[in-house]
Amino acid sequence: MPRLVSHPDEVKIVTRRFGQGAANIDRYLELGGYQSAKKCLEQGPDWIINEMKASNLRGRGGAGFATGMKWSFVPKQSPKPKYVLVNGDESEPGTCKDHLIFLHDPHSVIEGTIIAGLAIGSKLGFIYLRGEYRYLLEIVEKAVADAYARGFLGKNIFGSETEFQIITQSGAGAYEVGEESALMESLEGKRGVPRIKPPFPAVVGLYGGPTIINNAETIATVPHVIAMGAESYAAVGTPRNGGTRLFGISGHVERPGVYELPMGYNLKKMIYDVAGGVRGGRKLKAVVPGGSSTPVLLPEEIENLGMDFDQVGKAGSMLGSGGVVVIDDQTCIVEFALRTISFYQHESCGWCIPCREGTDWLKKTFTRFHAGFGTASDIDNIQHIAQNILGRTFCPLGDAAAMPTLGFIKKFRKEFEDHLNGKPCPYARHEELAAV
C-alpha cells in the first residue's frame, strides 16, 4: 500500500478515514459511515439536490461542473431507467487521487453512489474502474458485497422500500474512456469512443436512460458534504469553489503525494511548503497545475495563484484533475513535451481526424526534433498542427493534447530553438528517449 503523506495545512474531509482500515465495513461504520445515506433516504431527493447545490461542490474530474446542478438536470419522470455512473477511469498523467479513495475508503464511493441514486430516483449505479486499476477491483467488489450483505444495497436499502443496486466494471485500458460518453459506450460493451452531444447523459445516457456521471472523488465527497452540512463544507473553500481538493503533487519535489487542501490554496505554498520544495534544492522551472493536459505555468505565474477553478483559469491554465506536476531546472522541456504528446498519441481513440492524425504527427515531429534533427520551420509546424487540433476535435481530448503543446512552445520557444542546428539537447538524455 503506498505510503500516505500528511501536512498540517491539510483539511481532512475526504481523506478523513484514510489509513484507518475503512475498507472494512465494520470499521467504516465505526467511523460514521452510511449515516449520510440513511439521512438522505429520510430527507428525499429535493433536499439532497439543494444540499449539493449549496455546497458549491464542483466536479473533480477536471471540468469543474457544479455537481448539484448536474443532478438537477435529470428529469424526474422517465420511461427508461435512470443510472448513476461513477467515473473511476482515472488516467490523466499526474493524477492519482481516486486510486487512494478506492484503496482506503471504497465505502465512501458506495455511499456517495447511493445518495446520488436517491437524488435522481435511480435504482442502479455503476462503479467503473480504469483497466489498469484491476487490482483495486477486488477491494471495491468486496466493499460492494459487504454493503449488500448488510442490506445497504439491494431491493430494500436500510430496511426501506427503496431499491438501489451497484455493479462494478473494469475498463480495458483506454484514457479516452475517461470522457463520460466514451465511458458509457465502454460500459455498454462497445468501442470506447465518445458520443455526439447533445443529447447529454442527464437526458439520454447509459442504455438510453437518464444518467449522471461523476468523478469518483466527487462521489466520495458527497457523504461528507451531507454529514458536515452543505454550509460548513462550502465555507472551507473559496467562493463558487466549495470544500477541499485532493491534490496529487508529483515530479521534482521532496515529498510527493496526495494532499487534501482547501480549494484556493496557494500553489507556491503547495510546492514549497506542503511538498517540501523542489528536489535537491534545485530551482523551479515550470509547473503543470492540473494534470498533463493543462497548459504549463512559469514560476512567476504561480506567485499568488490560488488553486481553484476560477483563479487557475484566469492564469491561462486549468485546475483540471488536481495533478500538480513540478518540473525542475534540469529538465528538458522539449523532452517533457515529447513525453506528454506520446501519451496523447498513444491514447487517441482515432475517432476523429484532427486528434488521430495530429497527435501522431506531433509525436513524430517532437521525436525527431528532440533528437537534434529539427528544422526552424518545425517549431511553427508544431504550433500549426496543434492549432489544427485545438477546438476542432470531437471530444475535449484533442484539446488536452493541443493545449499543453501550445503552452510549451509559447513559454519555452527559446529552449526549442536551442535544439536546432544539430545542437544536442542541453540536458543530454537522448539515449533514454529511444525507449519513449
Binding site: 476523429c352 501522431d360 513524430k364 489544427n388 476542432r392
Partner: protein, 777 residues
Amino acid sequence: MADVTFTVDGKKLTAPAGTLLIDACRKAGIEIPAFCYYPGLSLQAACRMCVVRQEKVPKLQTACTTQVAEGQVFITESPEIAEARKGTIELLLGNHPLDCPVCDAGGECELQDMTFKYGAGESLYAEAKQHREEQQWSPAVFYDRPRCILCYRCTRMCGEGMDVWALGVQSRGVRSVITPNGGDRLDCEQCGMCIDVCPVGALTSGSYRYKTRPWEMKHVSTVCTHCADGCRVTLGVRQIDGDAVIIRSDNRDKGGINGDFLCAKGRFGFDFVESRERLSTPMVRNAAGKLEPATWAQALAAAASKLKEIRETRGGASIGVIGSNRTTNEENYLLQKFARTVLHTNNIDHARSTDYAAFARALAGHKDKTASLRDIAAAPAILLVGGNPTEEHPLLAWILRTNVRLNKARLYIANSQSIKLERQAKAVQGLPPNGYKDLTSILDRNDSDFAKAVMAEESLVVIFGSDFRGQGVEDLVAWGLKRGPNPDSVRFAIVGDHSNSRGAADMGLFPDLLPGYVPVTEPGAFAEYPGLPAAPGKTLPEMFAAAGKGDLGALLVVGANPVGKQGMDAAALKNTFVVVQDLFLTETAALADAVFPAASLYEKAGTVTSTYGDLQLVKKAADRAGVKPDFEILVRLAEEMGADVKALVPFGKGGVSADLGQSRGAQAGEADRHAVWLAAQGLEPRLSPLDPLAVLDEIERLVPGYTLDRINLLSGNDVRTELGAAQGRSASSSDGAGLIVPAHDSLFTSATLGRYSFALKDLERHQTQAVTESAAD
C-alpha cells in the same frame, strides 16, 4: 415539426425544426463538404469537414450534428472555415499514400475533390507515412488501409444499412483499421455496398480494380438483368477491340428505385456477357444432325422457311412459342404478336415463377391497389407473407429494413420458415409448411397479438410471392380488399423471380391471355390483330406433351431453357423443329435446329417492368459483335417468312419505306426524343421496324394498365403500370397454379445466367467455404 427560419451565408432558409443543418443546406443548394456524413446512416461527426460558424457560439460547429432552430445565423464558407477544412485535409494527407495516379478512385475521389477545393497541396511532414499491406477480404472486396480516411461509412452501411455487421474497427488512434469482424475474410452478403460508399480508394472491387480510369468509361444507367426488383445499375463501358465492353457495374447513378442499394448480382454478376460460352454466330443443324455455324441469312432462311412450311401444312396450332423472363416488354409483346398474327397460334407461354395471372384476376376492376416499390418504401405498415427477401429479393429486403429503420415502419411477417427480416419485424406469425391458406382466417379470428396488431393497422401493404397461387392469391386479395375503400387501406405487391417476369406476364405470354391479361376469348381492342386465333392455346407442359405425341411441328424458344430449368423432357422434342434465340447454348438450345445468338439486356434498348409494376427504361450499354437483340431477330424472322412487317411493328406512315437495321438511334433508345422534334416538323417519327419504341407506342395504345408517364420514363425514372385495369374476368382463363415454378435463386445464383458468371460462382464458393470453416470451428 414546425418550420423554422434561419440564415445561411446571408440567405434566409426555411426547414422543419430539428432538420440537420447539412441536410437543410444541401437542399438549398449550399454544398457543405463531409466525409463521414452519409444520408440515412447514423451520425459520426468524426471527419470535422462540415464545420461551420454559428453566430454567438465560440467554437466552429459541425453541420452534420447541428439541428436548425428559429433565428439561427450560420456562415458556411469563410477564410476561417476554409482554413479549418484545409487543416483537416492536411492531416489526412499526412498518412495518405497519394497514389492517385494508380488508385481506382482517382477521378471520382472525395478526398481528391476536397483537396482541389481547399488546398493543402504541400506536406509539412518529414517523417515516414504509416504503411500497411493491402488485404483481400473476399473475391469482391479489397482493403488498402493507407488510403483509408476512417470515415466509418463502410462499417455503418454494412451494419445499419445491410444488417450484416461484417465490418468493424480494430486498434485505436492512428493505428485504427477497418477490419472484417470475422477475422481476415469477409463472411457477408458480398453486396459491395462498402465499396460504393467509400469516399476514397480504400475499398476496391475485385472485378474492377486497376482495370481502367473512370473518365475512360462511358457510364450507362440501365436496369439490372438478374432479379425482378428492378435496381438501376450504372454500367461503365469502354471500347475494347471495337466492342463496347462492360468494365464495371455499380450504383454511381443513385437515382433509381434502389437509391443507395445494389447487391452482389447487380454489382459483380455482369460478367456473363463476356463469358467464353457466349454464342456469337447463328447455328443450323446440318444433314448429319450436328449444329454448325451459319450466316444470319442462312439461319434466318432455314428457320423461316420451316416455320412457314409447318404453319401452312399443319396449321398454326401445331407451333409452340416459349418466351422469356428477361427480354424487354417490347420483345415480349412482339413475340406474342408474332405468335398470334404471323404463326397464328395461341400456343405461347413462359416459365412462370409466380402467379401474376391470378393476381390480375383477383384485382380485376379494382384500381390503384398495387404497391410500387416506392409505396413499400414509404408504407407505415407492411405484411410480408412467405418468401425470404434477404436471399431472393435483396432490394425488397433493403427497402423494408430501411423503412423500419428510418421511418419506424411496422413490419409483420408470416412465414413457414424463420427468415432474417424477422430482426426488423414488429410481430411474426409462424405457419406450418403449406399453411399459408390459413393466414387470412388467423387474421380474421383476431385473437393473437400478431393478428390484433395487423388488424389494427389503418393502412397495409401486403407482399406475397409464389407461396400463393391461383385461388390462394384470390382469397388473400379478397381478404385485403375487405379492409376498406381507401386505396391506402390496402395495397398488394406480388413477388416474382426474374428481371422481366412481370413484363412477360403483362405482355401476354400466356396461351389464354393477351397483353394486359385480356382473355383471348374476349379480345376487345386486340380484335385488330389480323388472324388472331379464337381458342386458348397450350401451356408450356402441354406443348411438350403434344411434342411427345408428335403433334407439335415447331417450337420457337426465346431466352428460355425449359429443358434445363423446367425439367421438360428433351426427348419429347425429337420430331419437333426447334428454333432458339439465346445467349448461350443451353440444354434447350443444344436440341435446336436453328440457334440465333441473342443480345443480353445490357446490349439493347427497351423497357422492363419490375415485379412491383414499376416500368423502367433499359439502355444499351455494351456492344458485342455477332449478336442481335431478340426484337430484331423476330422482325427479321417475320420478314423472312413474308409477313407484313409494318403490321407487326407500326413504323413509318403509309408509303415511307425504311431500311432494316440502319437506325442506330432506335437501338440506343434515343429515337424517342428525336421523335418529338420530328413530329413537330410533320416528319416521320418511327422510321425503323427495329425501333422498340414503335412497339411501346402500340403497347400504350392497346394494353390495359400501360398508360405511361412518358416524360418521366425518358428522364430515367420509374413509372407506374396498373395491373387491375382489365375489366371483368374471363371464365376461360385457366388456373395456372400448377404451372408456377419459383426459381429460389440465392444471393449468388441467377437461373441460367448465373451459371455463366465467373464472379458470382467465385463469391458463392467463397461464402460456402466461410460457412464450412466456421462450422468446423
